[in-house]
């Protein structure tokens, strides 16, 4: 661990110069009052600019981004983040806009929001979009709230349950629960797809809807989607699309055409905006006409050549975020979409699916592949063989990959497959990169048999080795504190 910034603090070493206001002295004990003032010094670290820059530069060298190498995290779509997108978002004419500026001074920004919504409508087959949600989970929250508003408005208050496949990402049931729904899981069948009979048995007048990802979290396309859509709608429910896996089908198929009523997309996945170490993202939400009235406000409208914000939607669920959404992220996605164009967006999905199938084929025989058929943009392997022969787990394999310079794929998800490893090699990866990755995976499988302890104790070459997560949870130390001499 490099030393914490607080340990580098030295009195009077920060020389930041904030010039005085030159408007005459103000005595805060008069203007504010003693009892409202902070007592004592601010305990922030006192470090000069040189050491500050060195400190954070050093931290950056203990991190790994897409710009460093392959990041085959299933369901995360870690594609290359085009630098032209970064440049665009930083343009002063975009980055420097206050959300409450007069509308005539932000027409370019509104145009970007308006056109982004239009592009997303065409890509997803939906009728209207809101760019307000700040992340995928936030988009889900917004979408499920709209479903609730829809049923409530119709007086159908008996719909208290939301259905979710057992392979669903944790945000799906969490979102449903937070909006006040009971959650019931629908089983997956031997194909790895939603079990239609189980779905039929669970639908009813108490079900508000079904949340799906398509392709699903196993990387498989839900072929019965049209039938599922009919079943759900016939029983009076709505169909929700979790757009996490949209990268598999852009330009090839659209959730709107599959019968989905509400969708959310992840700009930081499908549309290449950077993940930033955990955020910010953006999770725009799209709807079919019959749900548009519930979208958050304001909505961007165009009258002749002028763009405006429209707040007059009495059925709207309100706001899920202050202001309008993560505009800075939207600019990056807009630039990305304009860069690729319609054909380019489709090509990206085609190459993503090709990459996944290519890696899968090349791992046959080395790893157990539970659903070994044509997959979409991601697929699952398990450590079954390695567990059986030498008790080497998916975790061990993932940690070994670190020694080869890779970020591991997603592990232990989805929950319905034991020892799962979900691999998603996005379209921005070259054949050479994929071949290298395949070779590393084969090498690890080899070591798992010849030298299992090496694999079980990985990583060996990273700046820290396996960390004690039990200790971190039993005795959480979540901030630095000045040591007190006793």
């Amino acid at each position: 661990m490099s030393r914490l910034i607080f340990e580098k603090s030295r009195p009077a070493s920060n020389k930041m110069n904030i010039p005085p206001a030159e408007v005459g002295q103000v005595d805060m004990t008069e203007t504010i009052g003693e009892e409202y003032l902070r007592q004592g010094e601010l305990p922030l670290p006192d470090v000069n600019e040189v050491e500050t820059v060195r400190h954070f530069t050093a931290l950056s060298k203990r991190a790994y981004g897409v710009d460093d190498g392959l990041y085959p995290l299933g369901s995360c779509t870690m594609k290359y983040n085009p630098k032209i997108d970064e440049w665009a978002a930083r343009l002063p004419g975009l980055a420097g806009l206050h959300p409450y500026q007069p509308l005539e001074t932000v027409q370019g920004a509104l145009q970007i929001m308006y056109e982004t919504s239009q592009w997303l409508c065409e890509i997803t087959g939906m009728d209207e979009f809101s760019l307000q949600p700040a992340a995928g989970a936030h988009g889900e929250l917004t979408g499920v709230m709209m479903i609730k508003a829809y049923h409530t408005q119709r007086g159908d208050t008996g719909r208290t349950t939301m259905l979710v496949p057992d392979s669903a990402h944790g945000t799906n049931p969490a979102t449903a629960h937070v909006v006040g729904y009971k959650v019931e899981e629908v089983k997956s069948d031997a194909r790895g797809l939603v079990d239609l009979e189980d779905l039929k048995s669970k639908l009813g007048p108490h079900v508000a809807g079904l949340m799906l990802t398509n392709p699903n979290t196993l990387g498989l396309f839900e072929e019965d989607i049209l039938e599922m859509s009919q079943l759900v709608h016939n029983s009076g429910g709505l169909l929700y699309y979790d757009g996490a896996n949209l990268n598999a089908i852009v330009g090839v198929a659209r959730p709107g055409d599959m019968g989905f009523d509400v969708v959310h997309v992840n700009l930081h996945k499908t549309f290449g905006t950077p993940h930033g170490g955990g955020g910010p993202g953006s999770g725009p939400v799209g709807v079919k006409k019959h749900l548009a009235q519930y979208l958050p406000v304001p909505r961007v409208a165009k009258h002749a050549d002028q763009y405006v914000f429209n707040y007059d939607y009495p059925q709207s669920i309100g706001k899920v975020k202050e202001f309008y959404g993560n505009f800075g992220v939207v600019v990056k996605a807009y630039t990305y979409m304009r860069a690729l164009g319609g054909a380019g967006l489709k090509e990206a999905s085609q190459h993503a699916v090709l990459n996944a199938n290519y890696v899968k084929t090349n791992l046959q025989g080395t790893y157990h592949i539970p659903f070994d058929r044509l997959c979409k943009h991601e697929f699952i392997v398990t450590a079954k063989e390695q567990m059986d022969s030498s008790k080497v787990s998916t975790l061990d394999i993932a940690k070994s990959l670190l020694d080869y310079g890779y970020h591991p794929p997603t592990i232990y998800f989805p929950l319905i497959v034991r020892e799962a490893m979900m691999i998603e090699p996005p379209e921005s990866e070259s054949r050479e990169r994929l071949d290298d990755f395949i070779a590393a995976m084969q090498d690890i499988a080899d070591q798992a048999v010849k030298n299992p302890d090496l694999v079980k104790n990985a990583p060996h070459y990273t700046v820290v080795r396996r960390l004690d997560e039990v200790k971190a949870a039993r005795n959480p130390v979540v901030r630095w504190e000045e040591a007190i001499d006793v």
Partner: protein, 127 residues
């Protein structure tokens, strides 16, 4: 998996020991094994009035959070404060470390509990 013969069991993997009008409640060896390393226990509230099926405690491990339910109604008259400082005791001694003791309103709800044999069978079916 240890399954002491003299105890009763629930399908949420709690054990009950009855002493007169008091029900002593804990989690089974199967439960602690599935939870993994326990990092925190939110112990029951002393003197709380509880109904059968209520959540009385929450157990947090590194990989999951699990509720502990009481199969009987009554008042919580004793709690095991040692679990606050040393949650790992539940992993080490699941049957020696109780979680709470309930003074029962209605002992008949005990009739719905499983015997040791029935519980072992139940665990086997769970896989």
């Amino acid at each position: 998996m240890k399954v002491p013969q003299e105890l009763k069991y629930t399908n949420e993997h709690e054990w009950i020991k009855v002493e007169g009008n008091r029900a002593i409640l804990g989690i089974t060896d199967y439960a602690q094994h599935n939870l993994g390393d326990i990092v925190f226990v939110e112990i029951p509230e002393l003197d709380a009035q509880v109904s059968s099926g209520d959540e009385v405690a929450v157990i947090e491990s590194v990989k999951t959070v699990s509720s502990v339910y009481t199969p009987v109604s009554g008042t919580i008259v004793e709690i095991n404060e040692a679990l606050e400082e040393n949650p790992e005791l539940l992993n080490q001694e699941p049957y020696e470390q109780f979680i709470g003791i309930i003074e029962m309103d209605d002992p008949s709800s005990l009739d719905n509990l499983m015997t040791a044999e029935e519980y072992e069978q139940f665990c086997q079916e769970q896989g």
